[in-house]
């Protein structure tokens, strides 16, 4: 037996197990998929209403903004499918002492606790996003997609997912210090709420510092803005440095969260076992 576990093999097992589990309760699966989709469609409805009154929001035309929303949906559905259930479970495991079992396994703990469960129903939004993207892109005036844009868009979406994952796992790891982190999901929602808008709307005395905070300190504005821009508004100058910065931000977040996670693990004292 080799000392290095096959990470891909373990991951595929998780994928299969979660699918079996989700398919066991098929009606529930369908309802979950439907409700997360209807939430996003309602959100889209809000912007359809707003665009009755204005040709653009901070320079984003209607269909450009739809691309932005589609990007949000891609990123969020991936994060919710792969990491959200695990981050929630981590807090619970810390509280009950179940984390002991994860620590004993001969595999990287962060890998194990981050990917154990996959919520397949959250991927429903992925397909809605796909439809929205294919609907909106041809309707943006004067837009011609180049090979590079199409190639880099999924790459930057993936980077966005990794940044959000970093923030999430760091937040979840703090439950080791705090004992309980019940409002994790709330906090998560309120923080990522800032990332769901084009960064140009943050202007003025309050807006500029806010934009800088969420670009350079907690880089959540990069998550959706960079890939969305890449497709919808590729010609602006700002874009090239943002694209470069996106790579730096992703690496920085991953390393930072890894550090927080390891530090938190050192403080872990098993509970109630």
């Amino acid at each position: 037996m080799s000392h290095h576990p096959s990470y891909l093999g373990v991951f595929l097992t998780f994928v299969r197990n979660s699918l079996v589990r989700d398919m066991t309760f098929r009606a529930n699966f369908l309802i979950d998929t439907f409700s997360s989709m209807s939430w996003m469609i309602m959100n889209l409805g809000f912007y359809v209403l707003v665009y009755q009154f204005t040709p653009n929001i901070a320079g984003w035309g209607k269909f450009e903004f739809f691309v932005f929303i589609a990007t949000t949906m891609f990123v969020n559905s991936l994060v919710q499918a792969f990491f959200m259930p695990n981050a929630e479970e981590l807090s619970e495991q810390v509280r009950t002492g179940g984390l002991d079992f994860a620590l004993l396994k001969p595999i990287d703990t962060q890998f194990l606790v981050s990917l154990r469960r996959i919520s397949w129903s959250s991927l429903g939004n992925f397909f809605v996003a796909m439809l929205l993207l294919f609907y909106s892109v041809p309707r943006i005036e004067g837009l011609e997609l180049s090979f590079w844009q199409v190639l880099l868009y999924p790459v930057y979406i993936l980077m966005g997912v990794l940044i959000l994952y970093s923030v999430m796992i760091a937040l979840a790891a703090t439950s080791i210090w705090l004992g309980r982190n019940q409002s994790l999901y709330d906090f998560w929602f309120y923080i990522t709420n800032f990332s769901r808008y084009p960064m140009e709307i943050y202007q003025g005395t309050w807006g500029t510092p806010l934009r800088q905070l969420f670009t350079f300190v907690i880089p959540i504005l990069v998550v959706i803005n960079v890939p969305a821009r890449l497709i919808a508004k590729p010609l602006s100058w700002e874009h090239s440095w943002l694209a470069a910065f996106g790579v730096v931000a992703t690496l920085g977040s991953l390393l930072g969260s890894r550090w927080v996670f390891k530090r938190a693990l050192w403080s872990y004292r098993s509970a109630s076992s």
């Binding site: 309602m42 209403l49 009154f53 204005t54 040709p55 709330d186 923080i191 800032f194 808008y197 806010l210």
Partner: protein, 271 residues
């Protein structure tokens, strides 16, 4: 009669104490709940800057911000976190049996628990609310005249009652379907969208604008805010309050009827 009042008073006191255990969490949670307002301010500022006109459906940008802040207050009255799902859980797990055995009315008990919940919530949330409203005072058009203020407060109390009885009725449905979480999610979506919590209902196009007038949801967020901002005045205001009252009475009756019907078919699952 006196013994009865004493019972209810004791229940109320216990519920208040139970609630106060989590006061720190409460205060922090309330402050965080205002964060989406921050992005809404930026978003609408950008919308108004691009729209060119300073007025959208009779709302200035400041009106919209004030509107969002006021709907937060209205929702603090009308939202009932965990009420319907709590009833559903009690039905599923059989805990509801105790209301069949003990001489305590289920709806009355829930109402008192909810009042206790809200009283504690307001006493803790008053600080964060006052702080945010003070910071944002320039968005408000100023204090409305006394009679409007009275109507506003009345509409808030009615919003609380409407929210309570509407959601309790939703909870009673669990006597028929054991698992109602998806139904509750749909209900939550509807209230979010059609109560005016997400946007001022004026921006809806026809026929939706008319349809929402015939739904109870708008009285849980839109109506109190619109009253404060002077969007509903005179006879329209009086009619609005009357329709709101009618909805409350309707759901009081419906809630009790569904509870009785539910008790009749209840078969006591669980331990």
């Amino acid at each position: 009669m006196l013994a009865r009042a004493e019972t209810w008073w004791t229940i109320l006191k216990i519920c208040v104490e139970e609630r106060l255990v989590y006061r720190g969490d409460f205060a922090l949670g309330t402050l965080m709940r205002f964060l989406p307002i921050v992005t809404q301010i930026f978003l609408w500022t950008a919308v108004f800057a691009s729209a060119g006109s300073g007025l959208i459906k009779g709302f200035t940008r400041n009106d919209i911000v004030a509107y969002y802040l006021l709907t937060m207050l209205a929702r603090a009255f009308s939202s009932m976190p965990g009420l319907a799902s709590g009833i559903a859980r009690q039905v599923r797990e059989g805990e509801i049996k105790k209301f069949l055995v003990q001489p305590i009315d289920l709806i009355g008990y829930l109402l008192l628990a909810r009042i206790a919940h809200k009283v504690v919530y307001y006493s803790v949330a008053a600080g964060p609310f006052a702080l945010v409203y003070y910071i944002c005072r320039s968005y408000f058009p100023g204090w409305p005249p006394t009679e409007v203020m009275v109507a506003f407060l009345l509409s808030l109390v009615l919003a609380f009652l409407l929210g309570f009885f509407l959601e309790a009725t939703m909870g009673m449905i669990s006597f028929w379907f054991l698992e109602v979480s998806s139904l509750l999610f749909v209900y939550m979506l509807f209230t979010f969208f059609f109560s005016g919590h997400m946007f001022p209902l004026e921006i809806l196009p026809e026929p939706w604008r008319t349809i929402v007038d015939f739904l109870p949801f708008k009285y849980m967020a839109y109506f109190p805010a619109a009253v404060f901002l002077g969007k509903v005045q005179g006879t329209e205001l009086v009619h609005g309050l009357m329709i709101q009252t009618a909805w409350v009475l309707g759901f009081i009756v419906l809630c009790r009827m569904t509870m009785q019907a539910g008790f009749n078919r209840y078969s006591g699952y669980g331990g």
